[in-house]
């Protein structure tokens, strides 16, 4: 993919996230940060594709980067993590997987439908693991910070 196309896609991801932010009634600085997070997650996703990672791994690193960013920002600007995470995760959501599973089912192409269905589940699982890992990293950080403060 050419550089212009990559930049264009990242900008499109930022706008997409912005649109979903409006749908979820996110306002002011939260809206700004969630848009940036959407662009970031798509950039990492494209990087994963460029490096020829498997689908599950690509979605894992994209979600992991996104969730790390969201957790960090939410601690800086004091907001619940979900206000930033939810809209920004939508570009990665496996809507295409749902569609192709359904399309192959009505086409009576059952092996392909099963394959697409399993792929969708793998993507969803990879995203869950990404969110989980990032929140564990930050829970660890909070715990260590708490213990250090207690000793002093």
């Amino acid at each position: 993919m050419s550089v212009e196309k990559i930049i264009f896609q990242i900008i499109a991801a930022i706008f997409t996230t912005f649109g979903f932010g409006l749908m979820f009634n996110i306002k002011h600085k939260n809206l700004f940060h969630t848009s940036i997070a959407g662009g970031l997650s798509w950039a990492v996703y494209l990087l994963g594709q460029h490096l020829n990672y498997s689908e599950g791994l690509t979605f894992f690193i994209a979600t992991f980067a996104l969730a790390l960013y969201s957790e960090a920002v939410s601690r800086i600007i004091y907001t619940p993590v979900t206000t930033i995470l939810i809209a920004a995760l939508i570009p990665l959501a496996p809507g295409g997987g749902i569609y192709y599973t359904m399309y192959n089912l009505i086409d009576k192409n059952y092996p392909m439908a099963v394959q697409k269905g399993i792929q969708t589940f793998i993507i969803a699982g990879a995203m869950a693991v990404g969110i989980f890992s990032a929140s564990t990293v930050f829970r660890l950080y909070d715990e260590i910070k708490f213990r250090i403060n207690k000793n002093i």
């Binding site: 649109g19 749908m23 995470l85 959501a93």
Partner: protein
């Protein structure tokens, strides 16, 4: 502390939880905030919340127990209210009991974005998705128009209280129906990209993330029921768009 104050604190904690639960917060955060409010005013709280119900029990210094069950029937997504309640509870020491109640009521009665901005959000979301799937400008316009239709359809089904399953079934149908119409008119050459982009508006992102965060923080009951919601919405989208696609593709012989 007299009985009246205790009841006041109980209803205050309940109101806090109710606003958060109705506007799409995670359940563990709801429970935490309820306990924080009650603890701040000197009670010993126990709280259990699920997606549809909040149960709070308070114990005062003499060991007397009062409790409250609150059903939560309707849920929407308004993350700004979640954010506002969160900031309010973070600065709870600046407010007295009555002031906090007033602030919470103010948040509860706040209006969401006007309908037009909501429509714009739908259009931008669906439209720009086509570029993420390497679509062209014609597909962008098709998805953009689908966004308007879906926003209107969601609005109508919400007013008629038709429920999540039917709403998503209908919206899935609309998304493939519109795409097939555009194909029939010769405006686009492939239905896949506009349909996927429009389906993305309906994908249950809030439910998915909240279910994951709830499961990993130990709220298994809520997490699994939310996961059920995700599966239900996903299925209804697929079924709705599948039915419409099958009907129209066979009808038009395209």
């Amino acid at each position: 502390m007299d009985k009246k104050t205790e009841y006041k604190i109980l209803s205050l904690a309940c109101l806090t939880g109710k606003i958060m639960l109705q506007n799409g917060s995670e359940v563990y955060r709801v429970e935490n905030h309820i306990c924080q409010v009650a603890e701040y005013y000197g009670m010993t709280p126990q709280c259990f919340a699920t997606l549809t119900c909040i149960i709070i029990t308070l114990k005062n210094s003499e060991g007397e127990v009062i409790s409250l069950v609150e059903r939560v029937t309707s849920r929407t997504t308004n993350l700004d209210k979640v954010y506002q309640v969160y900031s309010l509870i973070r600065n709870i020491s600046n407010y007295s009991c009555d002031e906090l109640r007033e602030e919470l009521l103010k948040i509860e009665n706040e209006k969401p974005y006007p309908f037009l901005i909501n429509v714009a959000g739908n259009c931008i979301g669906a439209g720009f998705f086509t570029f993420l799937f390497s679509g062209n400008i014609r597909e962008f316009l098709a998805a953009f128009l689908c966004g308007i239709l879906i926003a209107i359809a969601t609005r109508i089904t919400d007013t008629l209280k038709l429920g999540t399953f039917f709403t998503n079934l209908l919206c899935g149908g609309i998304s493939s129906g519109t795409a097939c119409l555009f194909l029939y008119l010769g405006f686009i050459t492939d239905v896949s990209i506009p349909i996927i982009s429009t389906l993305m508006i309906l994908v249950p992102g809030v439910a998915f993330i909240n279910s994951m965060r709830d499961i990993f923080s130990g709220d298994l009951v809520t997490g699994l029921s939310r996961l059920g919601e995700v599966a239900m919405i996903g299925t209804s989208i697929a079924v709705g768009s599948g039915i419409a696609l099958k009907l129209l593709l066979n009808l038009g012989r395209i």
